[in-house]
Symmetry: C2
Subunit: 412 residues, 2 copies
């Protein structure tokens, strides 16, 4: 990029001044003691809202401490599906009655993939890509081992992600279920979920999308795309806090057909009936297992409503501008140092983070963390720059990328 | 009971005055607006500590909000086993390295029972009692269905619980695992865990204890008893809040032999290595699956330390006195109304709650809840009176049992 182009690019101050969502940043808690300079890892752990402490205190005292066990009858029994419905309507393009909150993403993956494999009689293959997030691959490895199923590995370009062309020849009458990430955890590649889902369903397989890196940053249309199953986490762009519960989407058309394998009392038709045998609940509740993590669900509720007030289209618009700005800066000041941008350049194929590669980025990340500049590191040498649309400023991106340049320069 | 005996019994005021643990009640949050008169359901949901709101606020702002993703490296990765070790040492009689916190009790049951069945080659029977808590029975039903195992049902006395004599003839070289509750959720019967564990192991089977209704109220000696596996919940006598995470104990001698079936990234040997295949972690960490519920683990930590400061023997001593007092009162003023006490009279065979039966107790419970007197109801017509040793006063027991009498009398 030459100096004329640099001059033509708006400054971070100009971008922040023109940002219609700039005011939303005030909603997030900011430490005052200099511990945080630039946070570029909301794709791994979203920042708390300022409202979260008070929300939890109110829950502890007004709900748990005062209503006590009555809270289950009054509200908490419905919390997994009530919160699920809000996540569904606001962020997933899912009508009510198809989403429940609970467990970890990994446990939810197990339950849904097992349910899919068990329901697809005569189909003994699970399709997943080699660059999918480890827990997706590991869970599938375990299920394949116990069910005698075969894993068909998608060999896609690791610097981008899975395209319909990568699936050609892999789908057949033996395919039980296809498990892909909507936004790749490493490259940030945004898959064409509509086209891939159509292709998978055409083959008679079930489609499961891992939405961990897209929910809350990329608009989703699960119902319109005809998606069968999805899981996602709530501690990234839904700001639920460390280890907050996962959610699962099961398309209404599949709820009667699929049975998940972990038959806990809260997935039973009459949890407090103390019945002799397990009879699954009707609908999405049958995908619940144990006592719902009600306290742990509280923080994310405010974030879902904040997203609702802004709208997913506005969120996506800012996300695109943030990653565009980060890519431009990286091209300008990191690429000349030998850094490689291993994320898509086409905004239509990119989620809300980018990854840059350099052999020294493990060491660079440690230095940055000490300086309050926080991206994360993914082996072998990827530094991820995550941009949460509602909490990240353009100034923060500039400061962060500049700090990466400085830390790398010191080591070169 | 005649009037002479009544006069000999100390009053609740005298008992509270003489209670060495009376001061501990100040540690618990108490609503000030009359919503709570007598809480008799700590065996279902423990009350919050006063410290819990501030604990969570501090976690949100100082840990999550300030350290952000650095928190995983600095502390949170070890939180499941660090908190597990404290639960183990303080309440379970378990040396470090054998307890982990996470998932729900139901999911933990699934993981451990599956691991047990998978490891016990040639043994295809699971032993469980018909009066065990529904989720235990349901999880086993599901596992038996998927593994082709047979359930051998223990027929014990529902007004007490499982004794060694009830297991005679049920254990054989076909028994893979025996799953029993240490304290029965309904009757409050306290099983002889040492004798039963020895008998089960003699038969070459694995012993799994469900500790939900004993942990934090009854001293446990899992290591000394030679227990193989245990699970428990933290929202009863460990006061972790609605839906707080479960814990699992896996005896060190079994950790290499057993493999749980849900292969999530956090149970892998190198979670952030982004490796090609799943290799389980060494030791207790291999029983972890997904991202640990770190925020949700915070409240219970203070309660474990409160118990540590008092000691489990003192907790048990008060628990016995509370249930003795409740039984005496019930005999005195409820039995004459046709109420049946369906809990053991022998304190050595009783946990920290009692159950009283009457056909009208469903309706009675609804009335009591409106009056701020809170026991719970378990079908067909059991009213449970749970007595949390550190938060319950004798005055509260008297008030509660008297309110039961009054509400029942109104309906008779």
């Amino acid at each position: 990029m030459n100096s004329v182009q640099q001059m033509q690019r708006p400054t971070s101050a100009e971008l922040d001044a023109a940002d219609p969502l700039a005011g939303q940043r005030e909603a997030f808690y900011a430490p005052s003691d200099g511990q945080l300079t630039a946070y570029l890892d909301g794709n791994s752990l979203g920042r708390p809202l300022k409202a979260t402490s008070a929300k939890l205190a109110s829950f502890v005292e007004d709900a748990w401490g005062s209503r006590l066990i009555r809270g289950w009858d009054e509200q908490w029994m419905d919390e997994p599906t009530a919160v699920g419905d809000r996540i569904g309507v606001v962020t997933l393009g899912a009508a009510a009655g198809q989403v429940t909150v609970g467990d970890s993403t990994s446990v939810m993956l197990y339950k849904l993939i097992r349910a899919a494999v068990d329901a697809q009689a005569g189909r003994d293959e699970i399709v997943v890509d080699r660059d999918n997030f480890p827990t997706d691959r590991f869970i599938i490895e375990g299920i394949a081992a116990e069910k005698g199923a075969t894993i068909k590995w998608v060999a896609s370009n690791p610097a981008s992600g899975v395209r319909t062309t990568d699936l050609e020849g892999l789908l057949s009458e033996r395919t039980a279920v296809v498990v892909l990430s909507h936004v790749a955890y490493r490259s940030g590649f945004l898959a064409d979920a509509a086209a891939i889902t159509a292709m998978v369903k055409e083959a008679g397989a079930l489609m499961l999308w891992d939405l961990c890196h897209s929910v809350g940053s990329v608009p989703l249309e699960l119902d319109a795309w005809g998606v069968d199953l999805a899981v996602g986490c709530t501690y990234k762009y839904l700001n639920g806090g460390p280890g907050s519960p996962a959610f699962a989407y099961v398309n209404a058309s599949q709820q009667d057909r699929l049975q998940q394998p972990i038959w806990g009392w809260m997935g039973a038709d009459n949890p407090f009936g103390m019945t002799e045998s397990y009879a699954p609940a009707r609908g999405i509740r049958s995908f619940i297992t144990g006592t719902p993590p009600v306290l742990a669900m509280q923080p994310l509720k405010d974030m879902v409503e904040l997203i609702a007030s802004v709208g997913m289209e506005a969120v996506r618009e800012k996300s695109i501008k943030l990653t565009e700005y980060a890519v431009a800066l990286a091209e300008d000041i990191l690429v000349p140092l030998g850094v490689e941008i291993v994320s898509p350049r086409n905004t239509a194929e990119r989620g809300s983070h980018i990854t840059v590669d350099h052999p020294l980025f493990g060491e660079v990340t440690r230095t940055l963390w000490e300086r309050g500049v926080i991206p994360d590191f993914r082996p072998p040498h990827g530094l991820r720059i995550g941009l949460s649309p509602l909490s990240t400023s353009y100034a923060e991106v500039e400061l962060g990328v500049t700090a990466i340049r400085d830390a790398l320069t010191e080591l070169l």
